[in-house]
Symmetry: C2
Subunit: 141 residues, 2 copies
DNA sequence: TACTAATTTGTAATAATTACAATTTGACAT
DNA sequence: ATGTCAAATTGTAATTATTACAAATTAGTA
C-alpha cells in the first residue's frame, strides 16, 4: 500500500483512502475494468464509496499519467495501471480486452510530424484465440 | 452517387436514399463527424430523416466494412469513410481528429499471435501543430 | 489544534446510444 | 405494372455512461 502512497505524493496529489483502494484495485485487476465495475467491486468493502469519487479519482489519476484510459470499446472507458507501453486487443465475441506487448514503431515518425504526441494507443479488434478454438470445436473440424 | 449504389449492392445491402446521403456525406466530409453532426447536417435538406436511421445506417455500413468507427475521444463514435489504412491524431486542445498516414508495422506480428485480427486502430493524442503554434505566439517566444 | 483548499458524497442533469412497435419501402416474382 | 414480404425507416421511450453541482468532510500544513 505504501507504494501507492508514494505514487500520489510524487505527483503532489492528496493521499486519500479512496484513491488508494482504487489504485490497489487497478494494480491487482488487469482486466481493464470500467468505472462501474471498479465501483461495484470496491463498494462491497467500502459501502460509503461514491461513484462520483471513482469518476473523479480515475480522471485525476489519468491526468497525472498514473493510470491509462482505454476507449477501445466505444461505449465506456476502461482503465489500466500504466506500465510499459503496450497495445490492446478487443475480442468481439467474448468482450475481453487483452494486453498486446508490441511497441509502436510509428512513434519516431509521429514525433517528426509537427504534432506534440503525448499518448499512443494501439487497438486491435477481432476474435481472440480462445473464442477461435471454441468455434473450431463447435464446427467439428 | 452511382458509386455509392455500387458499394451497397456489392455487399447485398438495400439501396435506400438515407444510406446514400449518409455515404455521400461521409465521403465529402473528412472531419470524422459524430452521429449527431451527420444527422443535424443532413436533416436540413432531408427533414424526414430520423436519427435512429443514422445510427442504424452507420452501424450496418460499419459492419460491412464500408465505413470505420473511431473511438478515440471516448465519449462518442466518430466516422470515417474507409480507404487505405491510416491512424488518427486527437488534439486535446481544439478537438480536431487528424488523419495520420502511417501504416501499422505490427500487423505482421499480430497475425502470429493467435487472435483473428479484423481491425487495426492507431490513436495518438496530444496538441496539434496548429495549436502548438498558437501557444508560441501567445508566449511571445 | 485550527485553518483552508481540496476531496468526497449524493442527487440531479446531460449526452450518447439502444429498444421497440408501427409504418413505409426496396427488391423480386408474378 | 402490381403484389408480396422481409428489411428499413421513423418516432418515442428507455437505458447507460458521464458530468454538474452544492453541501459535508477531510488531508495537509501552520
Amino acid at each position: 500500500m505504501e507504494k501507492y502512497v508514494k505514487m500520489l505524493r510524487e505527483k503532489n496529489l492528496k493521499v486519500t483512502p479512496q484513491r488508494l483502494i482504487i489504485l490497489k484495485y487497478l494494480n491487482e485487476h488487469s482486466t481493464h475494468p470500467a468505472t462501474d465495475k471498479i465501483y461495484q467491486d470496491l463498494k462491497i468493502n467500502n459501502p460509503s464509496l461514491s461513484k462520483t469519487t471513482v469518476y473523479n479519482s480515475l480522471e485525476i489519476l489519468e491526468k497525472h499519467g498514473i493510470i491509462q484510459s482505454i476507449t477501445i470499446s466505444g461505449l465506456e472507458h476502461r482503465y489500466d495501471f500504466r506500465h510499459e507501453m503496450h497495445h490492446h486487443f478487443l475480442c468481439k465475441k467474448c468482450g475481453r480486452i487483452i494486453d498486446i506487448d508490441v511497441v509502436c514503431p510509428n512513434l519516431g515518425k509521429m514525433l517528426e510530424c509537427g504534432h506534440n504526441v503525448e499518448e499512443v494507443h494501439g487497438y486491435f479488434k477481432g476474435i481472440c484465440k480462445k473464442c477461435m478454438n471454441k468455434e473450431k470445436i463447435k464446427d467439428g473440424s
